[in-house]
């Protein structure tokens, strides 16, 4: 038996192979923003906020036929075990890019020509799978802002630990395991919008991992949907 899964198939944090960590999502946490959300995904604590669609600055960025999306993924210096320099690292710049692309596939950009949609993500505490948690928070924030979208986007990683494909790696499993595969997904359109992976996967394992990631994403989707419904139903009740 390996060191990350015991003989009963239980992982170090008590989960089975197909279980995700506890998730809580709160909508509308940043009052100034047009839309915002806070997510706790395991030990991840992440805020996403959206400004826009608003006039593009600088002007030359604007496109005549659609909106552009800008995304900044940033980790607070205190979010990691050792202090992280506040300057954006190459990793953060890359994650900003993949998050932006994932959201571009969901937003009806052509409804907002000549404008810009700014998406800001701040990781207050990081754990494994922070980009997946971020994309879920971003799509919640976009939904909160009322920007029209084809579908919600949710994220959930899969990975390989002790030779097994398991759902949603924790920080430790990511470090000690053999592979990590963050996946973001549009559940109603059945489309994968973010996919990255590292580690060794056979073709069979790859297919299994994708299917498991889709299953995990559907679980996250239910939680996100519930959070959105709760927020807006409570608003109706107050009136």
């Amino acid at each position: 038996m390996g060191k990350l899964i015991d003989e009963n198939g239980i992982r170090l944090d008590g989960r089975r192979w197909d279980e995700i960590r506890p998730i809580t999502i709160e909508i509308g946490v940043i009052k100034n923003a047009d839309g915002s959300a806070y997510i706790e995904f395991g030990k991840n604590k992440i805020i996403a906020a959206v400004y826009g669609p608003r006039e593009a600055h600088p002007k030359h960025l604007a496109l005549p036929d659609k909106a552009i999306v800008r995304c900044r993924y940033h980790m607070a210096p205190f979010s990691t075990e050792e202090r992280k320099s506040p300057q954006p690292s190459r990793r953060e710049i890359e994650i900003s890019l993949v998050l932006r692309r994932a959201m571009e596939s969901a937003i009806f950009l052509e409804e907002y020509p000549r404008s810009i949609i700014d998406v800001f993500v701040e990781v207050l505490q990081s754990d494994g799978g922070s980009r997946c948690a971020s994309i879920t928070a971003v799509s919640a924030a976009l939904a909160d802002s009322g920007i029209s979208m084809r579908d919600l986007v949710v994220g959930c990683a899969v990975g390989k630990i002790d030779g097994q494909i398991v759902l949603d790696l924790s920080d430790y499993e990511d470090k000690e395991g053999e592979g990590d595969m963050p996946v973001a997904y549009m559940p109603n359109l059945d489309k994968i919008v973010l996919l990255q992976f590292d580690g060794i996967f056979s073709e069979e394992e790859f297919k299994k991992a994708i299917d498991l990631a889709i299953l995990g994403n559907k679980k996250v989707y239910e939680i996100l949907k519930k959070a959105l419904i709760e927020k807006y139903f409570s608003m109706v009740d107050e009136k």
Partner: protein, 273 residues
């Protein structure tokens, strides 16, 4: 955060492209799964420890490797370092402006880095001089000279070819205190190959040109090791991809990776280092 506008293709060209795709053909006459001609030249920069110039069609990239000594990372005291960096030179396209690497360049660096690292191509444990204190650092710098699509595969091929032909001076302290200098090859284990493809509607195109990339739905770069296992991957493009299409791309790319590996092997054998 740079937001680049894709080059404007005349609508006619685009319509023509999509029409051809329905007949499984491309503007340059290739089939959907063919690469453009690939030329790999190794040892082009004599002052580097290893180098390679790679052309895929009009895309041209040069990679140089420098091996230096330095201190290891505190969390991996028993491993040498691998650093990959890519830069789009300002003359590589009319759309590139001088400046520090933007997000696209950073993506290329990181995708190439992951492919090499995760395939365990380089035996980093064999690059230690004194555990925790002194190790060899392998710097792979990639300069993109001319852009015509599929930068990822060109950059990857150049990095791998350069690494496979890298030699460096290994210094060892002998019993009598004398330092022995030995010229040796980099300790490599396999030849990882990356294959990029794009989707346009239901069509899958391997080795896209710049023109094809400008109308892509999504891009996928997959890296395979010698055994045909996937070791890194990255989706690009601003549209979703279905599970079925993804699996089809994996199958296609796996076969293509084998073809390219044969080519790289031939080049390395002929290089005689």
């Amino acid at each position: 955060m740079s937001i680049k506008k894709s080059p404007i293709i005349e609508n006619l060209r685009k319509t023509q492209m999509i029409e051809l795709l329905s007949k499984e053909k491309r503007l340059d006459g290739r089939s959907l799964i063919d690469f453009r001609p690939i030329i790999i030249k190794v040892g082009v920069i004599q002052k580097s420890n290893g180098s390679a110039e790679v052309s895929i069609g009009n895309t041209k990239v040069v990679a140089g490797v420098k091996v230096e000594t330095g201190s290891p990372f505190p969390d991996t005291p028993d491993q040498g370092l691998l650093v990959v960096n890519a830069e789009f030179l300002p003359f590589s396209s009319a759309l590139i402006e001088p400046g520090p690497p933007d997000e696209d360049a950073i993506e290329v660096s990181r995708v190439v880095d992951r492919g090499i690292r995760e395939s365990q191509m380089i035996d980093l444990n064999a690059l230690v001089i004194e555990t925790g204190k002194l190790v060899y650092c392998v710097f792979v710098d990639i300069s993109i000279l001319n852009m015509d699509g599929n930068i990822f595969d060109a950059a990857f091929l150049s990095a791998v070819s350069a690494l496979l032909t890298t030699t460096f001076e290994r210094k060892t302290v002998k019993g009598d205190g004398n330092i022995e200098v030995q010229k040796c090859k980099l300790p490599t284990r396999c030849i990882p190959i990356s294959i990029s493809s794009i989707t346009i509607g239901d069509s899958i195109l391997i080795d896209p040109t710049e023109e094809e990339e400008s109308v892509q739905d999504s891009r996928l770069t997959l890296t395979f090791n010698d055994e045909g296992y996937l070791c890194a991957g990255q989706k690009g493009g601003s549209m979703g991809i279905s599970r079925e299409q993804l699996f089809k791309i994996v199958e296609l790319s796996k076969a293509k990776a084998e073809e390219l590996r044969v080519l790289v092997k031939k080049v390395i054998e002929n290089a005689q280092i």
